[in-house]
């Protein structure tokens, strides 16, 4: 089917206009243009930061905007806000209103409602708007930092001034460095540069030569001492030195002492035995004493018997 030019133009205008109208209608409905609007009045001691059309936000969502600003007879700023019917439920009697002025982005009035079951805000009631100012807070925080930065900048300025000053320390140091380098370049030695006197350099050189001779002598003495020490070392620590022999004697002595230990132990045991034997001797002596007494007694009895009888014969048991 071939469409006529008129038809195509009509279709284009109709469809495009329809799309535009639908888009505008959607926008109007979404923005609550056809909705009932509730107006509330807020107050503030200052109108600073408030603008007409400023958004009214609840939990990050736009629920209305500032319709107009007014200064009443008492010098208080009245802020009239408009909230569509579908959002009016967020604005309650105990709602608080805060003007939030972020560092980046536009200012807004934030509605905070603790209890959503509280009665709706009476349009005649005029709550006060508190202010939270990110910019001033940030400035207050930045101020000390800026002071420090200013100090640093001033110090840098002083340093650069000193650096650029021809009579300043830096230039003096540079001048000295230049002198040192030129001295390095012109003088024969570091010593000459340091003392700046030829005679002193000669004297110093002679002293150094003498010092060299002294050190050579000391070296020789040290070599001798070293040799002597080596010899002494050999005599003391060598194979036939004193120390190994003392060692051997000591070892021998230890062996002999061990043997002596055994002898002493034996003597000890002998003396102990002898002591115990002495105890037995006492008993033996008393026994012998008793036996002698008995024999004496028996002899006396025998004597008595023999003396009285004719026949001096008797039988022993």
């Amino acid at each position: 089917m071939t469409m006529s030019r008129e038809y195509k133009v009509g279709l284009f205008i109709g469809v495009t206009a329809f799309i535009v109208v639908i888009a505008l209608l959607y926008l109007a409905i979404s923005k609550g243009v056809l909705e009932r609007i509730h107006t509330f009045t807020l107050s503030s001691k200052s109108g600073e930061g408030f603008t007409e059309g400023m958004p009214v936000v609840f939990s990050g969502f736009n629920i209305g905007n500032v319709h107009s600003l007014e200064l009443n007879d008492e010098g208080v700023v009245l802020i009239h806000i408009k909230v569509p019917d579908r959002h009016v439920k967020w604005v309650r009697a105990d709602s608080s209103f805060v003007l939030y002025r972020p560092l980046i982005g536009s200012a807004r009035i934030m509605v905070n409602t603790e209890n959503l079951k509280s009665p709706p805000l009476n349009p005649r009631k005029i709550p006060e708007v508190l202010t939270v100012n990110d910019i001033n807070d940030a400035i207050a925080k930045i101020e000390p930092v800026l002071d420090r930065v200013t100090e640093i900048a001033e110090n840098i300025q002083i340093i650069t001034r000193n650096l650029s000053d021809p009579k300043g320390d830096f230039h003096r140091v540079l001048g000295n460095a230049e002198k040192i380098t030129s001295n390095f370049a012109s003088k024969k030695s570091l010593v000459e540069m340091a003392v700046s006197d030829q005679e002193s350099v000669k004297a110093l050189n002679e002293s150094l030569k003498k010092l060299k001779d002294i050190t050579a002598n000391i070296d020789r003495v040290l070599v001798k001492i070293d040799k002597m020490a080596d010899k002494t070392d050999r005599e003391i620590y060598g194979e036939n030195g004193a120390l190994p022999q003392i060692n051997m004697i000591l070892k021998d002595l230890v062996i002999k002492l061990k043997k002596l230990d055994k002898t002493v132990d034996n003597i000890n045991s002998i003396s102990t035995d002898a002591s115990e034997g002495m105890k037995d001797l006492h008993i033996l002596r008393s026994d012998i004493d008793d036996a002698v007494k008995s024999i004496d007694h028996v002899a006396k009895k025998l004597d008595g018997l023999i003396g009285t009888k004719k026949n001096p014969e008797f039988r022993v048991p």
Partner: protein, 261 residues
């Protein structure tokens, strides 16, 4: 021999006279648009043809260009916003910059390049061929028959095509918001709605209408200034096009000024 100051003064006077003539001419055409008798059957036919050549013929190419260019533009803008951590300003940037400023501007550039230059040439050729004289001889009103339908076509075409461009951009924005920010369609729409103001849309339509009016009127005006020589055609066309672009810039600046106040 004229001094420098004389030459400068002469040029300034001539420019002022030209501007005044153009404004008077624009006023006459503007008044005619709102007169009922202007809309004769012949004028309506010319109007339909003009809209067909300016908008319907270009429509497939225009939609393709707006999809590609719009997607690219939205992609770049969204990526920059993401890098700067300004995701919450997507709506403001989309509505304040892309929809109300860039869409009409790009649309008017496309239409100027295609149709305004054609109108300018057509008028100059008609003047060279003495067709204007013939129309006057037959007592056909040039403004009604030639000028009003073209100017009206400019207004209708720019308003509709610019709106179409904006809608295509906003739709491609849904896709890019999802791809770049992982943003839900509802969130995107909410951000867009929050940052949309009816006043901005009205200014946009008004600006598009002014664009449409001047990008057709100025080429007609300069086309009609051609002499009866063929060599005057390119001169008239080039002067007309330069003035059209100057007018576009002036209108853009004025629209930005209206946003400031």
């Amino acid at each position: 021999m004229k001094t420098f100051w004389e030459r400068l003064g002469h040029a300034a006077i001539r420019m002022l006279e030209d501007s005044a003539d153009t404004i008077v001419f624009a006023g006459r055409v503007f008044v005619r648009i709102f007169q009922r008798k202007t809309y004769s059957s012949a004028m309506r036919e010319v109007l339909v043809n003009q809209i067909y050549f300016t908008s319907v013929q270009i429509l497939p190419v225009f939609i393709i260009v707006s999809v590609f260019f719009g997607s690219l533009l939205i992609g770049i803008v969204f990526t920059i916003l993401k890098d700067l951590g300004l995701t919450e300003f997507i709506g403001h940037v989309l509505m304040g910059l892309i929809v109300t400023e860039l869409s009409p501007f790009l649309t008017v550039l496309l239409i100027t390049l295609r149709s305004a230059s054609a109108i300018n040439t057509e008028m100059a050729v008609m003047k060279v061929n003495r067709e204007m004289k013939t129309l006057e001889t037959f007592r056909i009103d040039i403004i009604d028959y030639l000028l009003a339908p073209r100017v009206l076509n400019g207004i209708i075409s720019i308003v509709l095509l610019s709106s179409l461009f904006s809608i295509v951009l906003l739709i491609s924005g849904i896709l890019f918001a999802k791809l770049i920010f992982g943003m839900n369609q509802d969130v995107y729409m909410n951000m867009l709605l929050d940052s949309t103001r009816f006043s901005d849309i009205i200014i946009m339509f008004f600006k598009c209408a002014i664009y449409g009016f001047f990008i057709t009127l100025i080429p007609i005006r300069f086309g009609l200034r051609a002499s009866h020589e063929l060599t005057s055609i390119p001169v008239a066309v080039s002067r007309g096009m330069v003035n059209v672009f100057a007018a576009i810039l002036i209108i853009e600046v004025l629209s930005l000024l209206t946003k400031l106040y």
